[in-house]
Amino acid sequence: MATFRIKRFNPEKQPEPYFEEFQLDIPHGATLLDCMNEIKWKLDGSLSYRMSCRSAICGSCAVKANGHALLACQRQGEHLLQDDDTITLEPLGNMKPVKDLVVDFTPFWDKVNKIKPYLEPKEEPPEKERQQSPEQFRLIDDSSTCIMCGACYSDCNTLEVDDNFLGPAALAKAQRFVSDSRDSKTMQRVQDLSEPGGIWDCTHCAECVERCPKPARPFDRIKEIMTVALEKGVHNNNGARHALSFTNSVKRSGLLNENRIAPESVGIFNIPGLLGLIPIGLRMLLKGKIPPIFHKSIEEVDDVKRIFKELNQ
């Protein structure tokens, strides 16, 4: 017998959420969603959650199981059982719960809309379709698989501390248009996406990749936008300056020069930005933690320089 610890919430009856336990024999092969349905149909009809297709296509049934977001219809209940024979279910994170496992997706959709998730082509619509070569299609194939389930948004580490971040799903969707050969607004898009709240606020934790139930892998898509932004010369922001300073440092010595990366990232003419580095700089200096002033190169650095040259970097 398994115990389902489900976070219940009904603001009309009780202001604070609470956990309720349900006992269920998990039928062999049953998905987590099957289990939730069993509980709703046989034990408590008031349990609320979203569901539809049961086939990992519609993206409705994402919930947190044992602390991490997943599609309830895509995982087997037995596989989620913890050592103490429990499964803990909670609503998705980073969004406000409405009732039980249902959350308010409004900020999620607002952000998807903000990245202009539609093609802005160069010319008038042709009589037939706009064709894509297999190579062109491959660039946007992965992000096209996103089913907007919100699992990535739920577990995003940056969103936990900053509501302004567009989040992994919207940014993955943005890559689908940034890299689309038929779109005419690539430059405008990467400029907008380089603003605060955009690509450079991603903290690289790959939580979104881990939670994504499809091959969309948002962090990988965010990195692709970064590369396009740097190629297009959108350099007037800390994220781009950081990437360029980092790469140039490796080009010069084979190693990161930590003394240069901070001032070069904030911008060497950015006086308030530079002043902001003083407290950490002083603390490090007083403890002898400032990296060596004379930055040494690795052995055989010429080979590293050769690789940079060969790749036109």
Binding site: N66, G67, H68, N157, T158, E160, V161, D162, F165, P196, W200, D201, T203, H204, C205, A206, E207, V209, E210, R217, K223, T227, L230, N238, G239, H242, A243, L244, F246, T247, S249, V250, G254, L255, L256, E258, I261, A262, S265, G276, P279, I280, R283, M284, K287, G288, K289, I290, P291, P292, I298, E299, D303, V304, R306, I307, F308, E310, L311, Q313
Partner: protein, 297 residues
């Protein structure tokens, strides 16, 4: 056991105490670590923002250096570990890509053949052999010290490239703490991001992340946090005085590098391990450990 040591840049720069303590820990454990002096920076997932091929070619060159020495690579930084594993996966997933990278390396006399394993220091210890060696060489068990792990997210996700058995709920670092005689503290933030990658872009969010993690560890009763990543160390230690969440409550918690914690149990002194160079004082650790040894007598 002999390994090629991929030091990473930060262990040679802002956290030189990591290099110092790694040398001591290796000495105490009887590991031979051969420093890879010709290896370049792993790129930290930043060089690949500029050019993924460049980042992979540079890392493949580093792998080739270890291959020539017939050694597996040991890393002491979660960021290096995760970044190198990513390159390794890309090279092994596509023969075509591997050939392309090898073509770039050829002129420098390097080739990637995929013979070298890449392991984080923690994962070398968390093997049967590593644990047996560790337990046999402990001189000063860390009795009474409550230690919270901070894994460093690059070593955990994506899980298919992680060496941890259950990257969503790993226990290897805690197993090491227990072997050292310390009491492991489990808390939800131990597998989260420290925020360091965006400290230059969005400092408030970055310090929000590190602040939440530190608070979580304190709330769960930890005396100290030990991390396998020098970037997490910078975030949790060097920026700690600026974290408003903690300052409001006048709280602080010392942060150790994993090799420092290990070497303490192997009998090295805090000064030998550079613990006096930390921003947040580590004296509390000495007090707890001397208190427990005093009461034991």
């Amino acid at each position: 056991m002999k390994f090629a040591l991929f030091t990473g840049c930060v262990a040679k720069g802002a956290t030189r105490e990591l290099m110092l303590s790694t040398t001591k820990a290796a000495e105490g454990l009887g590991f031979e670590f051969v420093e890879m002096k010709a290896a370049s920076c792993c790129g930290a997932g930043v060089v690949s923002e500029k050019s993924p091929l460049l980042a992979d070619a540079l890392n493949a060159r580093s792998f080739s250096i270890a291959e020539k020495q017939n050694l597996d690579i040991v890393t002491i930084c979660s960021t290096c570990q995760g970044t190198l594993k990513k390159t390794e996966a890309y090279l092994n997933e596509s023969k075509e890509y591997k050939e392309k990278v090898n073509d770039i390396l050829e002129e420098g006399g390097h080739q990637y053949n995929g013979k070298t394993k890449i392991k984080h220091f923690a994962n070398i210890l968390a093997t049967e052999e590593g644990m047996a060696r560790l337990k046999a060489r402990i001189k000063k068990p860390l009795t009474g010290l409550k230690v919270a792990a901070f894994y460093g997210c690059y070593v955990l996700r994506p899980s298919e490239r992680s060496d941890y058995e259950n990257p969503d709920n790993p226990t290897e670092m805690e197993d090491i703490f227990a072997a050292l005689g310390a009491t492991p503290v489990y808390y939800p933030s131990r597998v989260k991001c420290c925020g360091f990658p965006i400290v230059m872009m969005n400092k408030d969010a970055s310090l929000g992340m590190s602040g939440n993690a530190l608070q979580d560890a304190i709330d769960n009763g930890a005396d100290v946090i030990a991390t396998g990543c020098p970037l997490c160390h910078l975030s949790l230690d060097s920026y700690q005085p600026e974290i408003e969440l903690l300052q409001k409550k006048n709280q602080s918690i010392p942060i150790l590098h994993l090799p420092q914690l290990v070497a303490l149990a192997l009998g090295y002194t805090p000064t030998q391990l550079g613990m006096d160079t930390h921003i947040v004082s580590t004296l509390k650790i000495n007090q707890i450990l001397s208190g427990s040894s005093a009461s034991a007598h």
